[in-house]
Amino acid sequence: MSKPHAVLSPEPVEDELWELPIGTVAGMRVPARVFADAELLAAIEQDRSLEQLANVATLPGIVDAALAMPDIHQGYGFPVGGVAATDAVVGVVSPGGVGYDINCGVRLLALPLSYDELGKRRERLVHELSRRVPVGTGGRGAREGLRGANLGRVLSRGPQALLEDLGIGSEGELAFTESGGCLGGADPDAVSARARERGAGQIGTLGSGNHFMELQRVSEIYEAAAAGAFGLRPGQITVLIHSGSRGLGHQVCTDFVKRMDARLGHHGIELPDRQLSCAPIGSPDGQAYLGAMASAANFAWANRAALAHRVREAVRSVLGGGAAEGTRQVYDVAHNVAKLEEHGGRMVCVHRKGATRAFPPGHPEIPVEYAEVGQPVFIPGSMGTASYVLAGRARSLDRSFGTTCHGAGRRMSRTAVRKTVDGSELRRQLEAQGIVVRALSARGLAEEAPAAYKDVDRVVGIVERAGLAARVVRLRPIGVVKG
């Protein structure tokens, strides 16, 4: 029944950049371009991601090109690792271009101690993190969220609401969060009752799938000045939090894909894939989505702020009050979001789905403390390899609407990896490498095995050579908490 996908072969157009020209797929308005090297491109061609990228190029009002980062892989509608900018006046906004986990993203915390100073307390700290942070999507993981949070205010104001109402977080943390942790134009009234129901009780919960919390140590520094500005030094302990808007965001996307799909004819839009459903940005449908999406994004930032609060409590319990007070937020970045930004002298709606904003030094949206080194970007690898801290570079504005990659990118399906990796054996292997593992299930652990992902070193090398972002620090995992 299911037809094999057509193999599309992009041509090289510049260093690290490959292109599918207009006409590759009927209805393309712009080319589709991929940042990759020959080896990664061969892996990318193994699934439907290039076909999906070419489909994105058919969106009304799309500007310049449909872009993909080197961690691109097959998704639904948009590929994961996709970037599309649409003209703010004549273009569309597509909920599928953001995805179901609105503002899935990463927050990095730096602890005021080194690996050697942590010493034998490492296992206890990972255990305490797993005890305090609810994981999974159902049961405890769904309903042990932060108590006392006012959902309406969180949707409007994000983590600022937690700070004002519950004393969680700080003004400093807000300043070190993309967009200050609050997207303008949030419209909580556009968030459905079911979305609210799914999100209720989930602030401060990690979720499942590829969401995780990782204890790490700084293993290598590439740019001393940037590392210094980010407050990172050799051997330092960090905690990386990867989570998003949970059930609330999933439902917002579901609601608007359905709504826009039903009204494509009304707007005179034809698409090659229903999951690309969209509406003109200025239309009531487009504006309602942007308001609901901003609310879900604010919810996600509040979720990661609450998770960071729980990390601090774990640090306080194991390492003492001084370590908790000295734990500093390096930055927090979104991976799945649509934002109105000015590029090339015009306003565009930049859809980043599995892609990270990477503004260069001097950009006005970067915290003043980082103005000379560029915006921090966090690239989780896999639990057995490494993660990176990058800094945005100027060519990202010319080549990718100020965007870089978001991770290593999957290369194997969950089914395929389960056939080759045993979760219990993987746990033993990771622990033999000095990585403490706390996972909800052996199956979930196996599905996120390092073998399921591309080589993060290669992915990061490409974005660096392409001038989108530069390596600052390499982080080695020493503990993992998985949903």
Binding site: M1, D47, S49, Y76, G99, G138, E197, H250, K258, G444
Partner: protein
Amino acid sequence: MTYRWIDHTAEVELEIEAASERAVLEEALRALAELLGVECDEALGPASTVPHEVSAEATDRPTLLAAWIEELAFLAESEGFVATRLVDLDLHGGDLRAIVGGVLAEPPPLVKAVTYHRLTFEPSGDGYVARVVLDV
């Protein structure tokens, strides 16, 4: 079984072949139960709970299939109720009303969303074929 899981890099893709529209919907229910870790045959015993009513509506069959799975997934997420059998189905035009039996469980991993990507539910030969990609 007349459903199967198709390899997908990041999500799960379900394909169904069945003799009737009802059978397609029933197979989708069974597939979801399997995904949520509940064997349908084991669920007929004393652990079964009171039946639940499920309704969905759509302007076309593919959208109705997506709405049906969405409702079943929501029941699992919100109440921990995993539907394992279709007790009764009333299918009129774009309206679906069903009674489903099942079990209470703690079902990981739950489905985040039912996508419209490659969504199909159409006649084929003597029966029907359907396909849906789930975000997990």
